[in-house]
């Protein structure tokens, strides 16, 4: 039976256990992702950013709520083309991220990967990925490694509603179940796979309904509520760590921008995004809940906003000033040794 977790707010057992410092951290992560994405959106429009960019604005609660439970050294995540949020939530430095997006040699991938391939393996971030559905099998591997090493590590695969239909994803769910891997599969259902609505493309009523078919628990989570995500992810990750096998979470929300930057989004209803921004926004809701319950003050949150704005400004300035990779970089690092 698919479980549904929504609008639990601060009363949820896991969430109410968050300390002030942890709450600020959660807010900071979400704010950092939002500010990063909004700024990349602006910069992309000027033409300074090469290639394709896919923004995570609106979805912050998912990456944040899940990664809050993960360790840098023993836990891994795999992401997709919409990977900036996952990177930031996993602790990848934003200055190299910004430089990478601008195609500079100071980027996390030395300018050789770009937005869709930002990675930091030292932080267990297996990379944003340009192939839909590529993450889940990779996470079966990292989870297998953690199981064999016995370090209690967990692998989390973030993928979209589009990827949820991909054969690779289905195979990975089956394998994770059959091998009893410490894995969590997070289907981020933002309503669209490119221009196609998930209500049309996903044959099951909910992605999470498929979990039973793969021998694991399935949970639907309100993706605009970071506490609901935190709660559901906490249970799934704990289950995985303790040898209880994988879980499929379906986080439901919406993306504020298009599939890619430049997407006119004429496939969407006109009120959808304004409504979400006004009534559902994860940052707004967070602020409302923590201030109403007296856990944090507006001043504390405003301070975070200011710090984040400063950091983003620095990141963009430095990225723009950084050098592009030179001819000497073209042929390097194809192999460890050829």
């Amino acid at each position: 039976m698919t479980q549904t977790l929504s609008t639990l707010g601060l009363d949820a057992p896991e969430a109410s256990a968050l300390s002030e410092a942890q709450l600020l951290d959660v807010y900071r992560t979400m704010r950092l992702i939002r500010a990063f994405e909004d700024r990349v959106h602006k910069e992309f429009a000027t033409g300074d950013i090469p290639g394709f960019v896919h923004l995570y604005a609106g979805e912050e609660a998912s990456a944040t709520g899940v990664c809050a439970h993960l360790d840098q050294d023993r836990d891994t995540i795999a992401s997709n083309h919409r990977g900036h949020g996952h990177c930031i939530a996993k602790g990848v430095d934003i200055k190299p991220m910004m430089a990478e997006i601008f195609g500079k040699s100071t980027g996390s991938c030395r300018g050789k990967g770009g937005s869709m391939h930002i990675a930091d393996l030292s932080k267990g971030m297996l990379g944003a990925n340009g192939i839909v559905g590529a993450g889940p099998p990779l996470i079966c591997g990292t989870a297998l490694a953690a199981k064999i090493k016995g370090d209690g590590g967990v692998g989390v695969a973030f993928f979209g509603d589009g990827a949820s239909n991909q054969g690779t994803t289905m195979e990975a769910l089956n394998l994770a179940s059959v091998w009893n891997l410490p894995a969590v599969f997070v289907a981020e259902n933002n309503g669209y796979a490119e221009a196609t609505a998930s209500t049309w493309s996903v044959s099951a009523g909910n992605i999470a309904d498929r979990a039973a078919g793969f021998g694991m628990p399935g949970v639907i989570v309100d993706g605009f509520d970071v506490f609901a995500v935190y709660e559901a992810a906490g249970e799934a990750i704990r289950r995985a760590r303790e040898g209880g096998g994988p879980t499929l979470l379906e986080v439901k929300f919406t993306r504020y921008y298009g599939h890619f930057e430049g997407d006119q989004q004429t496939y969407r209803g006109k009120d959808e995004v304004p409504n979400a921004k006004e009534n559902l926004d994860c940052l707004k809701r967070f602020r409302q809940r923590v201030t109403e319950s007296g856990r944090l003050t507006d001043a504390q949150l405003d301070e975070v906003d200011a710090q984040v704005a400063q950091l983003i400004e620095e990141a963009v300035t430095e990225a723009k000033a950084a050098p592009v990779p030179g001819p000497e970089d073209l042929l390097t690092d194809v192999y460890v040794k050829y």
């Binding site: 991938c109 099998p137 591997g141 990292t142 990975a172 390097t332």
Partner: protein, 338 residues
């Protein structure tokens, strides 16, 4: 080194066992590599569909993993696990099955190091059966090493004998880049002298199997044996051929081939892979480009016709390049004049 006569199959099994003994991070996974998961009989009933991995399941508990028939998941898992400190040796039962997991090899494993700016190490080995001769029909008889040779970031190994198989597989496993290791299915019972101890054969170092002065014959995999048969017959006609086994088609030791062509002035390349864009075309083009002045005749390529591998024995025997085909090609280049 003390040698004794063992089969190609036994040599591969021995390489796996010795590497697993030497390095606890080496694991094996694939369909029926133990062969018996979940059944009422033995857990390792098969040891691989043709018995290549027999005995390893018992010798290395927890390190020989059967998989469901889900190539994209377990090949992807092997790749993911390789980024986390394991040295997986995944078996793709027949290279013909690569169609269902090509992404994991082509877009993931092959590209991690470069697109992550030199920060990824992916020491995965993928073993696969290839080749015609067992009447296995079109979907189980291809020689697809050209496909992988084409992709930067992969290494491609094609052993021609039991001695080559053991040394090259040990090297493949120790190598820190993704390696595709091709085992000819019709050679498993072929025997040859193989040292008892562990040894490696370096990549990118061709073997001059037989010295000769009249024609350089480069042969891939099982075609080396066929070339040796042709050599004996040609001896009778007073023609001496120099047989070169590249061992690895990526990296390719072009220098050894060029050195030989400088001496003989004539080149024949024997490749059982389908003729368009196979290794024969690649080597021929490179040699003509680099050593046009050394050539006294056009380069001849001995490959099958551009057809799927037929089932009927009468047709398959026509399909596979024969010793006679090689003899004819050699005579064409020795008899050639403007």
């Amino acid at each position: 080194m003390a040698t004794r006569k063992i089969s190609y199959r036994e040599a591969i099994n021995e390489a796996l066992a010795q590497e697993m003994e030497r390095d606890s991070t080496v694991i094996i996974m694939g369909e029926d590599v133990a062969g018996g998961a979940g059944g009422q009989g033995k857990d390792d009933a098969w040891g691989g569909v043709l018995g290549v991995t027999k005995g390893l399941y018992g010798k290395f508990p927890g390190r020989v993993l059967d998989t469901p028939i889900t190539e994209s998941a377990f090949i992807g898992a092997a790749v993911g696990a390789a980024t986390r400190g394991l040295r997986p040796v995944a078996e793709l039962m027949f290279i013909d099955f690569v169609g269902v997991c090509l992404d994991q090899i082509m877009n993931q494993a092959a590209k991690f190091r470069y697109m992550f700016g030199g920060k990824a190490v992916t020491p995965v080995t993928i073993r696969a059966m290839y080749g015609a001769g067992l009447r296995a029909a079109p979907q189980h008889s291809q020689a697809l090493y050209p496909l992988f040779t084409h992709i930067p970031g992969l290494k491609v190994v094609v052993p021609s004998s039991p001695y080559e198989a053991k040394g090259l597989l040990a090297q493949s496993i120790r190598d820190n880049d993704p390696v595709i290791f091709f085992e000819h299915k019709a050679m498993y019972d072929v025997t040859g002298e193989v040292p008892e101890e562990s040894y490696t054969i370096p990549f990118g170092a061709a073997n001059v199997v037989r010295e000769g002065d009249d024609v350089t014959v480069v042969a891939i995999g099982r075609m080396v044996s066929v070339a040796e048969d042709a050599a004996k017959e040609l001896e009778g006609s007073g023609i001496s051929i120099e047989i070169i086994d590249p061992r690895t088609v990526s990296p390719l030791d072009l220098d050894t081939i060029l050195e030989s062509v400088k001496n003989t002035g004539r080149l024949v390349v024997v490749d059982e892979a389908s003729p368009r864009c196979n290794i024969a075309t690649d080597i021929s083009a490179q040699v003509v480009s680099e050593a046009f002045g050394d050539l006294k005749a056009p380069v001849k390529m001995v490959s099958p016709p551009h057809v799927p591998v037929p089932f009927a024995a009468s047709l398959e025997d026509l399909y596979i390049p024969s010793a006679q085909d090689i003899v004819n090609a050699v005579k064409t280049v020795t008899e050639w004049s403007k």
